[in-house]
Amino acid sequence: MSMTMTQKILAAHAGLEKVEAGQLILVDLDRVLGNDITSPVAIREFEKIGATSVYDKDKVTMVMDHFAPNKDIKAATQCKMCRDFCDKHEVTHFYDVGQMGIEHALLPEKGLVVPGDVVIGADSHTCTYGALGAFSTGVGSTDMACGMATGKAWFKVPSAIKFVLKGKLNKYVSGKDVILHIIGKIGVDGALYKSMEFTGEGVQSLTIFDRLTISNMAIEAGAKNGIFEVDEQTIAYVKERSDRDFPIYKADEDAAYDETYEIDLSEIKSTVAFPHLPENTKTFDEIGDVKIDQVVIGSCTNGHYKDLAEAAEIFKGKKVAKRVRAIIIPATQDIYMKAMENGLLKIFIEAGCIVSTPTCGPCLGGYMGILAAGERAVATTNRNFVGRMGHVDSEVYLASPAVAAASAIAGKIADPVEVMK
């Protein structure tokens, strides 16, 4: 029987020749990830299990990114709990202030994920690594605890939806617009329990960073994972960062998919998700005057160097509109450094933006840019639920870095094409 990309990776990690959708399996884990919010709960459960050591100190990974640098005493206590645990168990990949970045930008950058891996993370956006041809998925703290103890997790083998990409994106359109377009089309539970598999000649025209953004938001369509076929770009990106050998899995020609969508990248327009669900998407022909108070460019979704460069191109020589607060958050220290070396930070600061140390901060309403009642933000983040970035009566509009930058300048939700005219 034929299998999807995801099914092949899962079968290989379950020691099985074949698996089929719906089958319950126990798989070996190549990496188990947690952050400063989810790891404390996992540590409490790990201790309940009575395990004396982690299954592999090189494979357990913790990143202090959500409320770090510590936003208050309680957050400091949670980070300390993670730090003490990683010291005790000699966890190799513990990333604290100074080395840390937003986890889903940091792990690919550090070469900690390669094609064919199975990665679980106690963070819903763990699905990001599908961009590299890995099976990765978000789980809870209990799965993380049991994964740290045993190196295994249970899964129900998913069925899949296939997205066949063709063509190339237009100027000022990026991976964010692709995934918002898809979520707008299939809905926030359109891929519930399923894999989203991306294939077709159009994949090659997408940079790894566009792919990371697309896979990152697979969860926003309810998916278990969002995986891209491995190509030369993937291999080059990974080989630059890791010396591990890796197998490349391709879906069988006759693999069964629940649905297949053909997407012409050249037809995708800049897309904005209106409150309060990522599926409430609109393009500029449907967007009127929406005045804004804040812009956030960053997060695990869009805090890559490419994202900052796209924003900088628009900010260059222009000013952020009066009464708009523009917050730029490079996702990792390396991205921050590169943005500094290449003059991006100067462009942002001259335009009137602030540039923050890497943190998830405002994306989940933690800190570093919380909204008051009645305020609106355009953000390159991933969720626009009620109260996501602050007060329950505030609003978040999800968009690409180019749209966010254009909006900061215009003081309202704006099309980069118009702002750059």
Binding site: I49, Q78, V188, G365, G366, V386
Partner: protein, 164 residues
């Protein structure tokens, strides 16, 4: 396992940010988390919820973040069971892993109103609306998952040696 309680009803896409807002994720204290449960969509929830009550909701319950703080807050607030048309997948597996009872059943969601007295028999997969007299049949869990639930969650399953 049999649960009895009054129904507290919500709509579709109840996300983890409204179940427990991220501003409270700087703690893992169960009681503190429960004291903010559902705060951003229903400020009155913590006042009206009683031990054993049953939460009833629409499609995609628990979508969003992987935070188990959401399950902890719901469980600690006294909710014994969540019935929904569907659950977001991370919420679904976390529920099984920590032993928060859940059931998917369209007919029950249609046939239960806020405040109705509900009884659910998990072993036989039957939900009764004791206020209206209606009953609804649900699909039982696969044996592998039922075993985790019977063991009291994933941690207990590992302790018992069911998952090595």
């Amino acid at each position: 396992m049999i649960f009895n309680g009054k129904a507290i009803k919500y709509g579709d896409n109840v996300d983890t940010d409204v179940i427990i807002p991220a501003r409270y994720l700087n703690t893992i204290d169960k009681k503190e988390l429960a004291s903010h449960c559902m705060e951003d969509i229903d400020k009155n929830f913590v006042n009206k919820v009683q031990e054993g009550d049953i939460m009833v909701a629409g499609y995609n319950f628990g979508c969003g973040s992987s935070r188990e703080h959401a399950h902890i807050a719901i469980k600690e607030s006294g909710i014994s069971l969540v019935i929904a048309r569907s659950f977001a997948r991370i919420f679904y597996r976390n529920s099984i892993n920590i032993g928060l009872a859940i059931l998917e059943c369209d007919e029950a969601v249609d046939g239960i109103s806020e405040g109705d007295k509900v009884e659910a028999d998990l072993d036989n997969g039957i939900i009764y609306n004791r206020t209206t007299g209606a009953s609804f049949k649900t699909q039982p869990f696969p044996a592998f998952i039922q075993q985790i639930i019977t063991n009291g969650g994933l941690v207990s399953s590992i302790q018992k040696g069911d998952i090595k």
